[in-house]
């Protein structure tokens, strides 16, 4: 459950003579794998994630999720947006249980789980707060909580910590590592931050721009469980040096 397969997937905007955003994407992601899409802005990494989320249609090639083509968004593919995209008129609690509610699930099925998840993300005392009363990091915790409450088979995260300050970003990365260590859900994580990609992912797909292609797959064999302390470890630094030289090579090649 939670397997992803892209087979020569392309995405063109604006008809036949439009802009080629993604070209010949081949990508297989196994169950429970944490994959980071790393690349400069405009390289199509968010587009790739939007295809899988079902927000946009594939122009060519075949994209499968758990063996079936994706036709529309759905709760088995939980999306965490960059700016959280919470509904501002709903309280933290109402945002978190929005999914189960619109799916018509009985309260007994989701309330306990929602409470647990709010506690895990550290917001149990902010149930009744409105998103506007929260800091950026807290809003993103709600954005993660409302997705986890639906037990998705894959987490699609679109630069979820990109808009946060450095300190908050670290604490959110730690939170994500801890949550993933427990749930072992498949994760596709879009970022332009090399450190973040190494810290979180089992595998990094380095993308090049115009048209968006996957230039390089890099396995990160850093031992798990990981923590933000690893960021300063010698093993991490070795990985980073290797990846940066590989990125330079592949990007130079791509240009």
């Amino acid at each position: 459950m939670g397997t992803i397969s892209f087979d020569h997937v392309g995405k063109t905007y604006g008809g036949k003579n439009g802009v080629l955003a993604l070209d010949g994407i081949d990508l297989k992601i196994g169950e429970g794998e944490f994959v980071a899409l790393l690349g400069p802005s405009g390289c199509g990494k968010s587009t790739l994630l939007n295809l899988l989320a079902g927000f946009e249609d594939v122009s060519e090639g075949i994209m499968l999720f758990d063996g079936a083509p994706v036709t529309r968004p759905g709760p088995e593919r939980g999306v965490v947006f960059q700016e959280a995209a919470l509904l501002p008129w709903l309280s933290v609690w109402e945002n978190v249980v929005f999914g189960p509610r619109v799916q018509g699930k009985p309260k007994s099925e989701y309330e306990e789980r929602a409470r647990d998840i709010l506690r895990i993300v550290g917001l149990e005392n902010f149930r009744d707060a409105l998103p506007v009363q929260l800091s950026g990091g807290m809003r993103q915790r709600v954005g993660i909580a409302r997705v986890l409450v639906m037990s998705p088979r894959v987490l699609l995260m679109d630069e979820p910590f990109g808009a946060l300050d450095a300190q908050t970003r670290l604490s959110m990365q730690q939170l994500l590592l801890d949550v993933w260590e427990t749930l072992k859900t498949t994760v596709l994580f879009v970022t332009h931050d090399i450190d973040e990609a190494i810290l979180l992912a089992d595998r990094i797909c380095v993308m090049s721009a115009r048209p968006g292609r996957i230039a390089k797959h890099i396995d990160i064999d850093l031992r798990r469980p990981r923590s933000i302390d690893d960021l300063t470890g010698s093993e991490f630094t070795r990985f980073k040096a290797a990846i940066m030289s590989e990125m330079r090579a592949s990007l130079a090649h791509a240009h």
């Binding site: 509904l87 008129w89 619109v102 799916q103 306990e112 902010f126 800091s135 409302r146 801890d178 923590s227």
Partner: protein
């Protein structure tokens, strides 16, 4: 794992410090009493000049009675005991206020019932926009006053002719603002709802409608203002009761004191009804007010 499984995660992630309510209190108490007094100076001065400029209780050769005359006329109109005599301006104020208010309430309610759903559908669905929007845009430039003859021809000198004009006048700003509100909904709110399994109906009712509410309220306030205009115009011509009817009738018999008392009454009703909408708005849209404070 199923939805009922309990989840426990040990995390060493440090908690953040929340910025809850920071500075909100001071900002809310921003209503400065000194500034409110400032706003009273001009109207008091104007009324005083109006009073002092009059000779024998009027200006412009009797066309404009002074405030004291208007006041005593209003007191009699509002609180006098109706007599069997021919003076219709004793003790009939309240009834006429009620007539006009009920017409506005009916017409306005009808305009909301039509304008909000139609506007949201136009803003939400390109098909609806292509189907309905051109008709609305072609009809809109026709002023509601131009609809008077046909309204009387169809509905006669009856209540509904007046209600029809109010509905028509209030409908345009409501439908246009609801359309705009539904069009401007943030894309990621809709995507997030879709991702969480919301149906089209859920998205309309739980995302598009609340997101469009601030814009809808703008339309309601403009629409209500037009509603009061429409009730006065229509009562002058199309019915035989209400503040608009009294306004024209009093002018015909030369009772300018009643004309002015009537004008002030209309202004007050318009003001109070607008405050009511603002009150409902601030009650429903607390999230929005806090948002504008924080940004």
């Amino acid at each position: 794992m199923t939805a009922t499984d309990r989840v426990t995660v040990k995390t060493s992630a440090p908690a953040e410090r929340p910025s809850l309510f920071a500075g909100l209190g001071e900002r809310l108490s921003g209503a400065n009493p000194a500034r409110k007094v400032l706003g009273l100076i001009l109207p008091i001065a104007l009324v005083a000049i109006w009073q002092l400029a009059g000779t024998n209780g009027s200006l412009f050769g009797g066309a404009l009675p002074t405030p004291d005359r208007v006041w005593s006329a209003w007191v009699l109109w509002a609180f006098g005991t109706p007599t069997l005599g021919l003076n219709p301006y004793i003790g009939t104020w309240y009834d006429n206020v009620v007539f006009s208010t009920i017409r506005v309430a009916k017409g306005f309610a009808l305009a909301i019932a039509l304008g909000v759903p139609i506007g949201i559908m136009i803003g939400w669905s390109r098909l609806m926009a292509a189907f309905v929007d051109p008709t609305i845009q072609w009809l809109r430039p026709v002023p509601i006053t131009a609809w008077l003859p046909i309204s009387i021809a169809i509905f006669g000198i009856r209540d509904f002719g007046s209600v029809f004009l109010i509905t028509l006048g209030a409908f345009y700003p409501i439908v246009i603002n609801a359309t705009q509100g539904a069009r401007d909904v943030e894309r990621n709110w809709i995507r997030a709802a879709q991702m969480m399994g919301a149906s089209k109906t859920d998205i309309l009712l739980r995302v598009v409608f609340p997101a469009a509410l601030p814009s809808i309220f703008t339309g309601l306030r403009v629409g209500l203002g037009i509603g009061w205009t429409a009730v006065i115009v229509s009562e002058m011509v199309a019915v035989k009761s209400g503040l608009g009817y009294v306004l024209w009738d009093a002018y015909y018999v030369g009772r300018m004191d009643i004309v002015i008392a009537d004008m002030v009454s209309i202004g007050l009703l318009g003001f109070i009804s607008d405050r009511l909408i603002v009150f409902v708005e601030s009650w429903l849209l607390g999230w929005r007010r806090m948002q504008s404070f924080n940004n």
